[in-house]
Symmetry: C2
Subunit: 328 residues, 2 copies
């Protein structure tokens, strides 16, 4: 089976690639568990060190450049994970770029997918940025998307495209709305959500973290590892389980910042927990206040998707993944 | 004020044009009631007889042809009614054409609107074809679109585009989801919804109508006249009334076919009513069974939108519009 991962150089895409290579097999549209013969990653940049694996192929380029995409999604492609996108802050800062990459790029991908020898299975990475405006206290599978960012609007339009291409039998698609991914490895960035990982990551790495939001701020979170498992599970669930509804809110856990810090104290000791400094930023607090943080996800749970058991295990997974031994 | 109507040669667009010319003024984004100085209609075809009015301009062309659109939406445009689209059956029969005209055409329009001297007010004609799949008994403002046609998916994507362009301040947009329009003048066509007008129109014109669905089949309907009033009302409502939610299910009435025939008997006599012949068509009955027919529309009613009072008045309006005197 030939697998394509767009955004394969990004944190989640690359982690997914490694998981698939380690796994060696994947069940797809024909219901058979097939050996993975090729994993093709498309992205504008890749990690410096790539696994030495003859099945791995990396192609540099932009998903909105048609010539590039045709090299990636070839007629023998049976499996596509579409993760590539301009991120939320980027799409908000550059309106034209956001719609070009996030919508037109997805359409170019779907058009190539439609021309595969057999309709490929496709997992699309959507986001809870789909939700906004006047929100209920607890969101569920019936909550109507009303995004308040271009990124969110682009994700929702792509969900409808994936559903329509699926209905027509061109692909076998499913879209997952991802919670905030915590702990993201790497550096803090300018995204308003940066604090959600930063409040854990920097202290665990021995660095002071300035938390811009109050300690009772809730985050709807999912660990990178559990997210990758969800991508693979979404790929392997049979079409009949999805029926006419091809979009799913993934399970997550609602954790206040105070509980993140308490968990860090339990897992990594007081020294780590004490590295969080509260430095209020009204602008960020206001943005974050508009985000959905409580969900009921009965459909996803019934389909076998799983949230992290607790934030302690999220922290332990991060430490294990990064090879960090906290001085507890 | 310069007003643009895409799909201005169509039944609703042309009726809207005549209503605006007769009215002579329109309130727009600046809240002022301004004289209408120009009404520009874009369509691929127009009625043979056009009103002799120096304010009226017709431009022939396709909304997905960029050169044409630039002639229509000029920098001085302050008002746009976007009604043009490939119809439901057409978009289902030609997938590529549907997405090209209904999505790309709308984007081209929005891009030109964004370049107007001032953000124009824009009314987008969406549809209850947005709804499908597993539907509740009664739909309301919180029901999530899950279209089961490409046409419906294209309408929903356009709604999200209109909302995002509005949020960014490029336009002042609002989308109306239209019920089934009854009575459509003209000829029966191949659309599954053709019976909804045909069960009244042909008998009122002295012709036998073959009704393909059972008499207890409900229709969620709105008259052409009330629909045009809704377009104008949507244009004139201030931005503050819409807030962060720019999409509205228009009020309609739920009428079983049997009640349409009873009303026809009351308004036009037994002779008309007796011209309906039940000729079951399982294919059409099955398609129609998936359509939403009962709605609660508290938001629209609260904003001053109005349904037809009853199907009797819908029939009377049709007779008056078409100058028909039934032999009752």
């Amino acid at each position: 089976m030939k697998v394509v991962i767009t955004g394969g150089g990004g944190m989640l895409g690359f982690k997914l690639a490694k998981a698939l290579l380690a796994r060696g097999h994947l069940s797809g549209a024909d219901g058979k568990n097939a050996a993975i013969t090729r994993v093709t990653l498309l992205d504008t940049a890749f990690p410096a060190i790539l696994p030495q694996d003859s099945r791995l192929e990396t192609i540099s380029g932009d998903i909105s450049a048609p010539g590039v995409m045709a090299k990636v999604v070839t007629p023998d492609t049976q499996s596509i994970f579409h993760l590539a996108s301009v991120v939320s802050a980027g799409a908000e800062a550059d309106f034209d770029l956001g719609w070009k990459v996030n919508l037109d790029g997805a359409r170019a991908l779907l058009e190539l997918a439609r021309r595969c020898a057999r309709p490929p299975r496709l997992v699309f990475s959507s986001s809870v940025a789909a939700f906004g405006g006047d929100l209920p206290e607890v969101l569920d599978d019936s909550t109507t998307p009303n995004p308040q960012t271009s990124y969110g609007a682009q994700k929702v339009c792509c969900e409808y495209l994936v559903t329509d291409y699926t209905r027509k039998g061109f692909i076998d698609g499913r879209s997952l709305r991802l919670p905030t991914i915590v702990v993201r490895p790497g550096k803090p960035n300018l995204a308003a959500s940066s604090f959600a990982s930063g409040v854990l990551r920097e202290p665990l790495n021995g660095v002071i973290s300035e938390c811009p939001v109050s300690l009772d701020t809730d985050v709807w979170l999912l660990s990178p590892g559990r997210c990758v498992e969800s991508f693979i599970h979404a790929h392997e669930t049979p079409s009949s389980l999805w029926g006419m509804s091809r979009v799913l809110n993934l399970p997550g856990i609602t954790v206040p910042v105070s509980e993140m810090i308490n968990a860090m104290r339990r897992v990594a000791g007081e020294a780590a927990a004490s590295r969080v400094v509260y430095k209020p930023d009204e602008r960020i607090q206001k943005i974050v206040a508009g985000w959905p943080v409580k969900f009921r996800t009965p459909r996803a749970l019934g389909m076998g998707f799983k949230a992290d058991p607790d934030v302690d295990s999220v922290i332990r997974a991060y430490l294990a993944d990064e090879g960090i031994k906290p001085a507890a």
